[in-house]
Symmetry: C2
Subunit: 406 residues, 2 copies
């Protein structure tokens, strides 16, 4: 007798057959005694198709109308899924974001934030034994205008709704079994992680693990919502994302993430005086460039080298800014390298144990993998290496930290 929020993404509701399958899954939960609120995304590709339509109309779509456009996809899947659940004999209703009480606040309609959820109507439906299917990703602002929550918005809808409803669990269904110690396509021995802390999950996500979006994990952490990340296609327990101090001590490294979509820019011969870094990265920020790692070498003879990484897709934009900047700050040269990757080890145990960094660096060195940049946080160590070596590095580290052992 639990209250569950179950979220199904676009790839889980991409066809009529898949919608029927999700309906069966929801009905199974209801028949085992649970109350269920379902959050759905638009069918896979629908959102991209909408964006393409808008781009054919104008290169400068008004934000308000863009949100109106983008919020139509979930309405379709919500209506169809509610029909499919009802058809299996379990009464269900479909709610838009507005009807579900999602009030958002933001200047931008296409990247808004949840301000408040008035779940009165949903609670009323649950009380009479109905399943409520809710359009993820959307809400309305104070003018009753449509808004959407931006990338990963449906996950956020589910977590926020779980919080508002004081649900026992927020189940995020995906096409994988949960969060793994490393990408199973790269490391066949990778194991599913039973429990992980929100902080570790955030670091894994930012380091390249694509299971969950950071925004929803941050919300869950802040409000104490337990996320259960599990597979649409199996009944196996997946990965629980929750604070659990007892468990945390036991493990040094929870998992390894990698991201092969990195580019590195090095500015050589930068005069080592105050304000230069601020100027470089201020300029990148103004251009909305997503700078990831930044490393500055020790100064020698009053000049230094500065390296940073960006997603590969932004390299061209960076270089357009970097050349004039070079002259401005009187640097010697700007070097780009498009073929980089980032490999990271994550674990809260690092906080209280030393030796993780040296184990990591040794393991890479022993296998002839050259480290080009290093960056550390309290619970993560990331190394930038050449892209061709990324998968090998993940396997090497998975062995070095004995993540394949129980």
């Amino acid at each position: 007798m639990a209250l569950l929020v179950q979220k199904f993404g676009g790839s889980s509701v991409g066809s009529v057959d898949m919608i029927k399958r999700v309906a069966q899954r929801v009905v199974d939960s209801v028949r085992s005694g649970d109350s269920v609120v379902v959050v759905v995304s638009a069918m896979a590709d629908t959102t991209d198709e909408m964006v393409t339509l808008a781009e054919k109309i104008t290169s400068d779509a008004p934000d308000r109308e863009m949100a109106l456009l983008l919020s139509s996809g979930e309405r379709i899947t919500t209506a169809l899924l509610a029909m499919a659940i009802t058809n299996l004999g379990t009464p269900a209703v479909g709610y838009t974001g507005q009807q579900a009480g999602f009030k958002t606040t933001s200047g931008r309609h296409t990247n808004s934030r949840v301000a408040e959820i008035d779940s009165t109507r949903i609670i009323g439906e649950l009380d009479v034994g109905k399943v409520v299917v809710v359009c993820g990703f959307q809400g309305v602002d104070e003018n009753q205008d449509e808004t959407v929550l931006g990338r990963g918005g449906s996950d956020l809808s589910a977590v926020a709704l779980a919080w508002a409803l004081k649900a026992d669990s927020c189940e995020i269904f995906t096409d994988v079994e949960g969060v793994y110690t490393a990408d199973p396509r790269v490391v066949p021995e990778a194991r599913k992680i039973g429990k992980i802390s929100p902080d570790e999950m955030l670091e894994l996500a930012s380091a390249g693990a694509r299971v969950l979006y950071s925004r929803s994990v941050e919300f869950a952490k802040k409000h104490g919502v337990v996320i259960h990340c599990r597979s649409t296609f199996s009944k196996e327990t997946g990965t629980l994302i929750q604070e659990d101090a007892a468990m945390m001590e036991a493990v040094l490294v929870r998992g390894i993430a990698h991201d092969t979509d990195q580019a590195k820019i090095t500015i050589r011969g930068v005069p080592d005086k105050p304000g230069v870094a601020a100027r470089i990265f201020g300029r990148m920020g103004d251009a909305s460039i997503n700078v990831d790692m930044i490393v500055q070498n020790t100064s020698a003879d009053g000049v230094t080298d500065m390296s940073f990484t960006v997603p590969r897709s932004e390299l061209k934009k960076v270089m357009a800014y970097a050349e004039p900047l070079k002259a401005e700050i009187e640097a010697r040269e700007v070097i780009e390298d498009a073929d980089m990757a980032k490999v990271s080890v994550v674990g809260v145990g690092m906080k209280s144990h030393s030796g993780v960094a040296s184990t990591m660096f040794s393991a890479l060195a022993d296998n002839g993998i050259n480290i080009e940049m290093i960056s550390t946080s309290e619970i993560k160590i990331s190394c930038v290496i050449h892209r061709d070596l990324a998968e090998e590095a993940v396997r090497v580290l998975h062995r070095a930290f004995e993540l394949d052992a129980d």
Copy 2:
């Protein structure tokens, strides 16, 4: 400096290029000094695709969720058209039915009626010089649940909005130049009608002319809204649908409509006693069969023949009911004929002039066209004939009433 409501149907906004063209058309009106509210339908076929999706899920879709599904299509065209207009330098906003103030009332979500329009927001946007693009076909009920207006709903949205806004004209754009004296594909000399009364338009529509839906014309008649039915693809004046007594007297027959989608059922040897007709047509009504014309012959020897027409698609359903009914009312036999057509002449002038019927019957007889059923109203005479003769009959009548003359 007029306030115009312009309605564009699904075939006018069926692609990005067509949406751009409609945008240009709207902007032309704005540049010539008019204020414009645009009502749009979903892209052609979208609604049918939605219905097909729902049918694949369940044969018994809940009405509320069906409305949620069907109301998503207009949101897409509304958003895209607002973007396209803005892109041409004229600020535009897109409104859902709810935002446009459409409140509906009905037990059925998929066939609701306009209860009230609160046009405060639209007026506010017009006052600051914006074009307002509104989702046709949709509104919300007292629970803020999505509702749709049923077949022809977008036309009705436009007419109702024109009334609420006290607009100078409600322009319904179609793929033809207006209302014609007969179908130009059948009668090449058919002329565009400059003005027609709502009553005549209603009779033409019910007789098979497919330019406008009866519901919107009824609303326009009741509330004195002038409809301008015109082409999306030309700037020519189309057909004005308005009460205009002066004009009405001058013409006997305004136009000829035909409908080749008719089937005839004859019940022979029906005992001529009270209640038999009520039982037959009560049964058809219970089965939601759309009976059109009904003719009963004079009784002879206490028995009579009863004929009626239905859309061809409903013939099978009728026959399933007719056979048991035959035994019940002790009729002799039931004969069906699937290949019928209806040809009608319409004109308010008939009210005060005789001779139209005899001209019609003679013209058909002179050309060897046999009349199988006749039905008359104050301003319309309809004849049921064999389907193969329908087009010939329309041409014959067009000549007989000199509709090709100025």
